[in-house]
């Protein structure tokens, strides 16, 4: 049986590698998707930043107001935090004085890219003001002030990188489903279109071996697709990590190994479902049409895991999700992103393996049905 599985896997892999469409969908698209998103959304524009000031010297306000990119409001704001979190203002400046000592505190929303940009811009402008002041009054000893900045966290307490915690898991789900879609649709629905499925099933090979041989190919391509996507992501971060709201992203080897473990298990599950769908579909197009909604279903599961992870503070409650396949992967991806250990890796592995095997067994049973084999 192992030899048959290997033969089918080898043939399917060669067949898929020679298909340009599969290569683009599996390798090229996931590799460039993140850099492209960053390139498109991260392009610098002449944004006008909304700034509120409180207790700031008029000369400093005048310096800031002279800049066309800054819209400075001197109106008193009752709840600065809420204004920052609701994106009504991009940054808030307050001045504190004690004798000759002066400090300007900049409050900003560190989960909002524009706010982070405003902080950087204000730092430049304030330094510029200090430099001008020294040049204009070279005899004055205490001309300046120090600039401090205070990040305001959004609702995800402790999570400062919106993209890492919210967008990245969704993209991983979408890529793990879409990157092997051409291969998955072809392995069974394509065989039906070519009328080669019945020939394959005439051979002295068990139907489960046929399912497994094709499944491992889909899994390989799905996993490779996610790896390409992660490579694209890390390349983007290494070039410019400002879109994450941080100056530098430090990825530990533990995070990498956990991430690989989790995306491999995710690909295990998604590939098995795609193979099952491919068996029931009568054509490649129909298979692709049925596979695509999986991205929505899995994203919904991800949304649920998102809520469960961040809103359920009781660790006993959140640990219940360790035993629900897929949901436990989603929750763990976030845990890993926060540089924590996975709660229960064995339960994640076993529950998702069990789910995959059940789906594959259903696939094998479907291959026994005439209406399924000859549905073309």
């Amino acid at each position: 049986m192992i030899k048959s599985i290997y033969n089918i896997f080898k043939k399917e892999s060669i067949d898929a590698i020679r298909d340009v469409r599969s290569l683009i969908i599996t390798f090229i698209f996931p590799l460039i998707v993140f850099p492209a998103v960053i390139l498109l959304t991260g392009s610098k524009t002449d944004t006008i930043y909304n700034i509120s000031v409180s207790g700031i010297d008029e000369s400093i306000i005048a310096h800031l107001q002279a800049d066309p990119l800054l819209l400075v409001s001197k109106k008193e704001i009752t709840d600065k935090n809420a204004s920052l979190l609701n994106y009504r203002i991009d940054a808030s400046l307050s001045m504190y004085k004690k004798g000759n000592f002066k400090a300007i505190e900049i409050e900003y929303n560190n989960s909002y890219k524009r706010s982070i940009e405003a902080l950087e811009y204000l730092k430049v402008k304030l330094t510029e003001y200090q430099m001008n002041n020294i040049l204009d009054n070279p005899d004055i000893k205490h001309t300046g002030f120090i600039v401090t900045f205070m990040p305001i966290h959004d609702i995800y307490e402790g999570a400062s990188m919106f993209i890492l915690y919210t967008l990245l898991p969704v993209l991983i789900i979408i890529i793990s489903i879409t990157s092997p879609i051409a291969v998955a649709a072809d392995v069974f629905a394509g065989e039906k279109e070519r009328n080669s499925l019945e020939l394959l099933l005439c051979n002295p090979v068990s139907k489960f071996a046929v399912v497994l041989g094709k499944y491992f190919t889909v899994f390989l391509f799905g996993f490779m697709g996610v790896l390409c996507f992660l490579a694209g992501f890390f390349i983007s971060v290494s070039i410019d990590s400002s879109f994450l709201g941080i100056s530098e992203l430090i990825i530990t080897s533990k995070q990498i190994s956990y991430s690989l473990f989790l995306v491999a298990i995710l690909s295990f599950v998604t590939s098995s479902i795609e193979v099952c769908i491919s068996i029931t579909a009568k054509s490649v197009k129909e298979a692709q049409l049925y596979i695509l909604p999986l991205t929505v279903i899995f994203s919904a599961i991800n949304y649920f895991s998102d809520k469960s992870f961040f809103l359920v503070t009781d660790p006993n409650i959140s640990s219940r999700f360790d035993y629900i396949p897929v949901l436990n992967i989603m929750t763990s991806i976030r845990t890993v992103m926060m540089n924590n250990d996975i709660n229960n890796p064995l339960s994640i592995l076993l529950t998702n393996l069990a789910a995959s095997i059940i789906v594959l067994y259903i696939s094998k049973l479907l291959l026994n049905r005439e209406k399924i084999i000859y549905r073309s």
Binding site: K3, S4, N7, I8, K11, I14, D15, R18, D19, R194, N195, S196, E198, L199, L200, L201, C202, N203, P204, V205, E370, I373, Y374
Partner: protein, 235 residues
């Protein structure tokens, strides 16, 4: 070698096969003749265990299809060659051979032999994507031949072929006959069946209407089958 025992198969209200029974001894080439929808392909699919019969049994080498068998038929379905277009002819053949436990030098020798026999040397290593219908049919024939199964099922293998290709197929069948293979061969071409087969079974609306032993006739086999077939159609 092959025993078909009271096979019945219905698709909804359509009685496709009605108590079909026959036996083919080892080494015999038997033709299956019948109009479109007579049940030929359904019978092939039942023998290959692709679909199950509503009633009756099929025995290959005395073993029922649902048992652990040591003999699987090699099959050719004429409607489509079922080749993988991104693989070369040799890779297509090798894939199926490997699944049947044939590999290495033995397989390469067989591929070389049959590609010579069917005049395929020019394109054996080319991808099948741009093959003509005849080239595909020949590749499919070699694919089944290298498996070395003692039982071969050929469902309309010459459909859509030109004359030289049909001659090649006839040579191929003759070669398999000499190797004592048991062959069940379906076709609409009576001349082809009469020249290749030792026996012809006429299937009409899912019922075996005639089982003609052609060995006892030296010539005019063609006319004998034609007359029998026309009589059945007229009724």
């Amino acid at each position: 070698m092959l025993t078909v025992d009271c096979i019945k198969k219905n698709f909804c209200d359509n009685k496709v096969l009605q108590s079909v029974s026959f036996h083919i001894p080892q080494g015999q080439v038997v033709g299956l003749l019948g109009e479109n929808g007579a049940g030929k392909t359904t019978l092939f699919r039942i023998i290959c265990s692709l679909i199950s019969a509503d009633e009756g049994n099929v025995f290959i080498n005395g073993q029922a299809l649902d048992e652990d068998r040591n003999c699987y038929p090699s099959v050719f379905f004429g409607g489509s060659s079922g080749l993988y277009s991104r693989l070369s002819a040799r890779e297509n053949i090798t894939y199926f051979a490997n699944l049947n436990g044939v590999s290495g030098d033995v397989l390469n020798d067989k591929i070389d032999y049959f590609s010579n026999l069917l005049d395929m040397n020019d394109y054996i290593d080319r991808k099948t994507l741009q093959f003509s219908h005849g080239m595909k049919q020949k590749t499919a024939l070699v694919r089944m031949a290298v498996i070395n199964s003692p039982l071969m099922l050929l469902d309309e293998p010459t459909t859509g072929m030109d004359f030289p290709s049909i001659v090649s197929v006839a040579d191929f069948i003759q070669h398999q006959k000499n190797e004592s293979k048991t062959i069940l061969y379906s076709s609409h071409n009576i001349s082809e069946l009469s020249s290749i087969c030792q026996r012809v079974i006429i299937l009409h609306k899912g019922i075996i209407k005639a089982d003609i032993d052609l060995i006892k006739y030296n010539d005019n086999k063609d006319n004998i089958v034609k007359k029998a077939y026309l009589r059945i159609l007229e009724k």
